[in-house]
């Protein structure tokens, strides 16, 4: 162990472990303890039935698609904010954080009224045969909205750090603009993009407020897993709710560990 400039490692570690246990580990353990009370058959019936499986597919699928869209859009936004100086840049910079600051219900209402079949955008899209609100597509839209700032803020500092000389070096070596981006900039951004993806994915998966407004909540079609938990709770079936929660927890935890491993592997290649 290396001692830093500031003393008190033991004390701070103790505090960290205490708060972490109290705020994170204890509630999560509670879920498992509660879910463990169920018999195997009951667990399968409550947490792995047709309706629940559809909800998992929708939640994980929509969150993954939304996170992917966020990564692409987020890199673009970060690129423009970092690389260009233009009138109104500060305003855009502030707007990026808006989905963060907004109560999610407000975002949900705003998106729903915009994308509803009689909404300003929804009506036009409907004319093209695309239905957004009250479909899985609407869920993706809401998740993209709330996840975007996470990607932008993950990528931005890394992009700022990329030395313009590295790009110039690639240019003098005869690389085309696309090659410079693909071979020089993208690999440098990849770890940050992965972080952004993981954050946006986690946020989308856990999102409730904005999604329930736009989703339509049709069981088996546009019903997300967190909503299913709420429905079980409203029916006083706490066991079912915790069983579903446990499934979500295990899957998300596995996915996050996977993404983290990928990142560590990428980073090790750059800074061994």
């Amino acid at each position: 162990m290396r001692t830093g400039v500031l003393p008190g490692f033991g004390l701070t570690l103790g505090l960290v472990m205490f708060t972490l246990s109290l705020l994170v580990l204890a509630p999560l353990a509670g879920i498992f303890i509660k879910a463990a009370g169920l018999s195997g058959e009951a667990f399968v019936a409550k947490a792995l039935n047709e309706r629940a499986l559809a909800a998992y597919r929708l939640s994980f699928g929509a969150a993954a698609i939304a996170a992917l869209v966020d990564v692409i859009a987020g890199v673009l936004v970060a690129w423009i904010l970092v690389r260009y100086r233009f009138f109104g840049r500060k305003v855009i910079d502030a707007l990026v954080d808006l989905p963060f600051a907004l109560p999610t219900a407000v975002a949900g209402i705003a998106l729903t009224s915009l994308y509803a079949p009689n909404g300003w955008l929804g009506s036009r899209l409907l004319a093209l045969g695309v239905k957004v609100a009250f479909t899985p597509l609407g869920i993706v839209v809401a998740m993209v909205f709330i996840g975007l700032p996470l990607v932008v803020r993950s990528v931005e500092p890394v992009l700022q750090d990329i030395d313009s000389e590295v790009e110039e070096a690639a240019l003098t070596l005869g690389a085309s603009r696309t090659r410079v981006f693909r071979r020089v900039i993208l690999p440098a951004l990849l770890p940050a993009m992965l972080t952004g993806f993981a954050l946006a994915f986690a946020r989308g998966l856990g999102e409730y407020g904005s999604v329930v407004f736009i989703a339509g909540n049709m069981p088996g079609i546009s019903e997300i897993a967190p909503l299913l938990i709420v429905i079980q709770l409203e029916q006083h079936d706490v066991a079912a709710a915790t069983a579903i929660a446990a499934v979500i927890l295990v899957v998300s935890f596995t996915l996050l560990i996977l993404i983290n491993t990928l990142q560590v592997w990428r980073r090790r290649r750059i800074d061994p």
Binding site: E168, L171, T172, L173, A175, R183, D271, P272
Partner: protein, 372 residues
């Protein structure tokens, strides 16, 4: 041959970085762009590389007009001060980058690329580092990788921006000798930027001294040292004592009490100017020796083969003298001693309205006083 014709470059805010600069770089020579920071030397290098666009002027590579060509099209090797290596690629991949970036028609196959990269690794003497990442290398090793990477595209012209600026003194000296050797082996045309006059003088065939966006002098190191074209060049090449003076009817009068006759200026009534004396051109004499002026020894520092003396004249002006260890040993000097010094050689530059043609003022005038 590279022909740079009246290049002018202004940065945002109206700062003129390069002011009507013209220069011809001969094939096969190693040229140094020397100047203080802000003299425009790096900007000139970047303009040659195509990384910066001039406001006015033209650049020709042999017969082709390269002014409008992008950095990519110029096929010029560029080595950056801070190496600018690709951090996520191994040394091997870094060096291979330029070859792999070639359009398919002229791209060598995989085996050929491997062979060429290995050759380059051998050339820069870092074959054993091929599979390392840049973060695992020392500064000197990184600079060698950067050089090999630039050489991989077989450039006709190699540009180096302060190539040894970020290295410590010992590595720096080794690496610059090695660069000179490499240049002689490859016969490539090279231009490097430096603010270190010793480095420029030691390595380059020709030195271009720049100041405030202009070229002060472009010549061989020896000629620049012996015949500096301006007061700036004289001052920039090594340490110098500057004495404000007046020339009155053919006699240079200084505030430290030194007077020197210059017969050529006998017709001038009274003109201000500056007298430059190199530290090693100051000879120590007994006090009141004819032709000398008195000083007080404030500090002496032994620097290997020579000794530097910090002196203070009676007027309060500080001067520096340098003498050999052997001479210093003969003298047994003490701090606070009163001694005399006399210039063996001095350079006079007149200020103000002097007909330059008649008196060769811009070039300055060398004065070699006789020992009376």
């Amino acid at each position: 041959m590279i022909d740079i014709h009246s290049i002018t470059k202004t940065f945002a805010g109206g700062i003129i970085v390069l002011n009507d600069v013209s220069l011809t770089i001969r094939s096969g020579e190693l040229l140094a762009l020397l100047g203080p920071s802000g003299s425009g030397k790096t900007t000139l290098l970047r303009i040659i590389a195509g990384l910066e666009k001039p406001d006015r002027g033209a650049i020709h590579f042999d017969a082709t007009d390269a002014t409008r060509l992008s950095a990519r099209e110029r096929q010029v090797g560029f080595v950056f001060q801070h190496y600018a290596l690709f951090r996520h690629m191994t040394v091997f991949e870094n060096i291979a980058f330029g070859l792999e970036a070639r359009p398919r028609a002229s791209r060598p196959d995989k085996g050929e690329i491997r062979r060429r990269v290995e050759q380059l690794l051998e050339l820069v003497q870092i074959g054993f580092l091929a599979d390392r990442y840049p973060s695992q290398l020392s500064g000197g090793q990184r600079q060698r990788v950067a050089l090999a990477r630039a050489l991989a595209i077989e450039p006709k012209l190699l540009l180096l921006d302060e190539p040894f600026g970020a290295l410590d003194a010992k590595v720096r000296r080794d690496l610059r000798r090695w660069l000179r050797h490499l240049h002689d082996t490859l016969g490539i045309t090279g231009v490097f930027v430096t603010h270190d006059q010793e480095e420029a003088m030691e390595v380059a065939d020709r030195v271009v001294v720049m100041n405030q966006g202009r070229i002060e002098q472009a010549d061989t190191p020896t000629r620049i040292y012996d015949h500096p074209a301006s007061a700036f060049v004289y001052q920039f090449l090594g340490n110098v004592n500057t004495l404000a003076c007046r020339v009155v009817h053919g006699v240079v009068e200084t505030e430290v009490g030194l007077t020197l006759p210059v017969a050529e200026y006998a017709t001038l009534p009274e003109v201000p100017g500056n007298l430059f004396i190199r530290p090693h051109d100051l000879e120590l004499t007994p006090v009141d020796h004819p032709g000398s002026f008195p000083v007080i020894l404030e500090h002496q520092a032994v620097l290997g083969a020579s000794v530097r003396l910090d002196l203070r004249a009676l007027s309060g002006q500080r001067l520096e003298a340098e003498l050999t260890r052997a001479r210093h040993n003969q003298l047994t000097l003490q701090r606070g001693d009163r001694i005399g010094v006399r210039p063996l050689r001095a350079q006079l530059y007149l200020a103000g309205d002097v007909p330059a043609a008649a008196f060769g003022n811009h070039q300055g005038r060398e004065i070699v006083p006789l020992d009376p």
